[in-house]
């Protein structure tokens, strides 16, 4: 599904990713852990095609083709989804409006028919109930005045509706209390499927108690420095990132 080869990327001439190598096979959930400043969020932006990040070397093979030159919206239509660490607020735009605009834009890009309104509403209803997202919340402007938990649930709701092939979850646990964390994790777990890969980026191990990964990678100074099974997360929890700090820039 996703194969990253020797990926180098920089912002304003400053190199943040320094040769990332990573393979996430179809249907697997991988976690990336690492100290602050190790390049985790940068990786998520580079994968989703944010402007301002220059890929200076390497490849991102997604679903068989290199997407390095592909604009963000095309990557989204191709099936790359990023759950933002800090979901953006868009005043005046109702959440429902936004969901429909995004869903139909992607369908159109893929040459699929747009959803009818009843069909769309039915899908939203099914997905929102699972995530405990109220109708009232859907009518409010996108993320405006949402609590941290509401924003993250809204991200997962979007993921459920957009049905991506690759979901990147950037610090999805940040700002969540334990109950909200459980709801969000259950949402994510229900979306695990043999056709879908996930990349879970997190600083803390606690999220991985709920979303158990197939593999755990440790990132430091812009590189994947270690790979292991779920037990690696526990080890990091116990020992911290001190062993890897020396490799930080």
């Amino acid at each position: 599904m996703l194969e990253i080869k020797n990926l180098h990327a920089s912002i304003d001439g400053k190199e943040i990713l320094r040769g990332v190598d990573l393979v996430v096979p179809t249907g697997e959930v991988h976690a990336i852990m690492g100290p602050n400043g190790s390049g985790k969020s940068t990786l998520s932006y580079v994968l989703s095609g944010r402007d301002g990040y220059d890929v200076t070397e390497g490849e991102i093979i997604f679903d068989g083709s290199d997407i390095v030159e592909m604009p963000a919206e095309e990557r989204a239509a191709a099936g790359v989804f990023l759950a933002f660490q800090y979901p953006l607020e868009i005043p005046g735009v109702a959440t429902m409006t936004f969901l429909k605009a995004a869903l139909n834009a992607q369908r159109k890009a893929r040459g699929e028919a747009e959803l009818t309104t009843p069909d769309f509403i039915r899908r939203v209803k099914v997905a929102s109930e699972k995530l405990n997202v109220s109708q009232e919340m859907l009518r409010r402007p996108l993320n405006v005045g949402f609590s941290g938990g509401e924003k993250k649930r809204n991200e997962i709701l979007q993921m459920a509706l957009l049905e991506p092939k690759l979901a990147i979850l950037d610090e999805t646990d940040s700002g969540l209390d334990i109950d909200a964390l459980r709801v969000v994790s259950e949402g994510v777990n229900s979306l695990r499927s043999p056709e879908r890969s996930m990349l879970v980026i997190t600083h803390y191990q606690r999220l991985l108690d709920h979303i158990v990964p197939d593999k755990v990678h440790v990132m430091s100074a812009g590189r994947i420095v270690r790979t292991g099974g779920p037990e690696l997360a526990l080890e990091l929890e116990a020992k911290g990132y001190a062993d890897y700090a020396g490799e930080a820039a």
Binding site: S48, G49, R50, D51, G52, P71, A72, E73, R75, A76, A77, F81, L82, F84, P87, L88, E89, I90, P91, G92, V93, A94, M96, T97, F98, K100, A101, A102, N104, A105, Q106, A109, T117, P141, L142, Q158, L162
Partner: protein, 492 residues
């Protein structure tokens, strides 16, 4: 909300360089020679079969205009207008005073179609009865002469007079004499005075006491003839307890020279009356290099003359090379209310200097101003507004919110409010912000699969939502389309 989806679709369909309404209709015109003189004023008056008092009124205005100078205080720049190089009268040749659609030049009807007059109105124009529950009466001002008025008969049953002002001058001289120039005095400003001298036609509405106008009244303005200044005059009177909603739409064909438009609109609301006036203005803004386009110097003012009366202005301004326009309310009656909701979009080399005046004279008068300015390209977009409370305006209230959104770093957004309170119990609140569409907001939308134009349209529609909601349904959809079209090509 389907309207937004429609906007998004619209954006992808439209060819950026094509001004949709930039075509010239080929109808033979009947027009006065170039230039302005007493003779031209007499010519116009004679063409209209006007009574002597009207001619005198015009001549008086003309003489006063000669002593005035063009205002220079607004933030707009343009080459000096040669008032002697314009045509002041131009009427499409058609059988005089058409009574039904059959008598209307088929080219005109074809033009309405090209104009994309909302389907409902076109059906009405085409005589399709019962096409919908909501009906709109249209008084189309094609260049200067009101060509067709529909539903006149039904309105008449309700006692509503909706006709060309030239007709009103002949048929209802007492009402016109009483109110014409009573809100915008002849010498109010340079352009209003010019209009008073040479106005060619416009709409007249009279809603009698206690009558709620049974339909939305609508008018379309178009500037067609080359080098024709267009000087409409609109007068709306709502008697005690009357209600009316009036819609004005504007389109103009593409021209190389700048065309002058100097309209005057006067609204009078007596006790407990309510007038809602909505405008969508999408005149030709000039080409990508700032060549051509309409000069739109308009005086619009409403007088809340009676207690508890209400006047509400809503405008969506996306067109014209220059817009100079301040729809205002004089809150004279106690407990009267004024509202101003505005969206002004500028792109290319457009210049907008627009806003409102809320003059609180009566007790417990209330006003509300919501202004959303969006500047893109190399345009300049200025909000200029006045809120004042006079000595006797105890308990006056105003809330003003002016937000500006900048798209690109070559444009300017300016906010120039004047707040003048001479009454301690008047409570005025003003807030204004200027910002741009944030990169991360844009990226968030792109990540969800929207194109950058769709994303901008979505965010801008969110930004202007408070104002769009004030528009009648037919206009709301149209307005959102227009905004998106005007902003095309603004994000690289």
């Amino acid at each position: 909300m389907p309207a937004i989806q429609e906007t998004v679709d619209q954006v992808s369909q439209i060819d950026v360089d094509q001004y949709k309404y930039g075509f010239v209709t080929d109808i033979e015109s009947d027009r006065a020679p170039k230039g302005l003189s007493e003779d031209i004023v007499r010519f116009i008056s004679a063409k209209k079969n006007e009574p002597d008092w009207m001619l005198e009124w015009r001549l008086d205005a003309y003489r006063r205009w000669l002593t005035m100078t063009e205002p220079t205080w607004s933030r707009v720049h343009y080459p000096k207008i040669d008032f002697d190089d314009l045509y002041y009268y131009s009427a499409p040749k058609s059988s005089p005073g058409p009574k039904s659609l059959d008598e209307v030049d088929p080219e005109l009807l074809a033009m309405y179609e090209k104009l994309g007059i909302p389907l409902r109105e076109r059906e009405i124009l085409a005589g399709v009865e019962g096409a919908s529950d909501r009906r709109v009466a249209v008084d189309a001002v094609f260049d200067s002469v009101s060509v067709v008025t529909t539903f006149k008969e039904e309105l008449k049953k309700a006692g509503v007079i909706f006709c060309a002002i030239s007709e009103a001058i002949r048929e209802y001289p007492e009402i016109v004499k009483k109110y014409l120039g009573s809100v915008v005095p002849v010498t109010d400003n340079y352009y209003a005075t010019l209009n008073s001298a040479v106005f060619s036609d416009g709409s007249f509405v009279y809603i009698p006491e206690g009558v709620r106008c049974p339909m939305e009244l609508s008018t379309y303005f178009r500037i067609n003839e080359r080098n024709t200044g267009q000087f409409e005059r609109t007068l709306i009177i709502a008697e005690k307890g009357a209600h009316v909603s009036y819609l004005e739409g504007c389109t103009a064909p593409m021209r190389d020279e700048n065309q002058l438009h100097a309209a005057v609109v006067e609204l009078v609301a007596l006790e407990d009356a309510e007038i809602k006036y909505s405008t969508v203005q999408n005149w030709y803004p000039g080409d990508k290099d700032g060549k051509g386009g309409i000069y739109n110097f308009v005086t619009k003012r409403g007088d809340c003359r009676g207690d508890r009366s209400k006047i509400s202005w809503t405008q969506v301004e996306t067109g014209s090379a220059i817009t100079w326009k301040y729809p205002s309310c004089i809150l004279r009656g106690d407990d009267s209310q004024g509202e101003f909701y505005s969206i002004a979009v500028s792109n290319g080399y457009q210049q907008v200097d627009s806003g409102t005046k809320m003059i609180h004279l009566g007790k417990n008068t209330k006003s509300r101003i919501i202004s959303k300015g969006i500047a893109a390209g190399r345009s300049d977009n200025t909000y200029r507004g006045l809120v004042s409370a006079h000595r006797k305006a105890s308990g006056a209230r105003n809330f003003t919110n002016c937000d500006s959104l900048l798209i690109g770093d070559k444009c300017g957004a300016h906010t120039v409010p004047y707040i003048e309170s001479k009454n301690a119990s008047a409570v005025f609140e003003h807030e204004a912000t200027t910002s741009k569409i944030a990169d991360d907001q844009l990226f968030y939308c792109l990540q969800r699969g929207l194109s950058s134009e769709e994303a901008v349209a979505l965010i801008v529609n969110g930004f202007v939502k408070d104002v769009i909601q004030q528009l009648p349904m037919e206009f709301a959809v149209e307005a959102q389309k227009l905004i998106s079209i005007s902003l095309e090509g603004s994000v690289g």
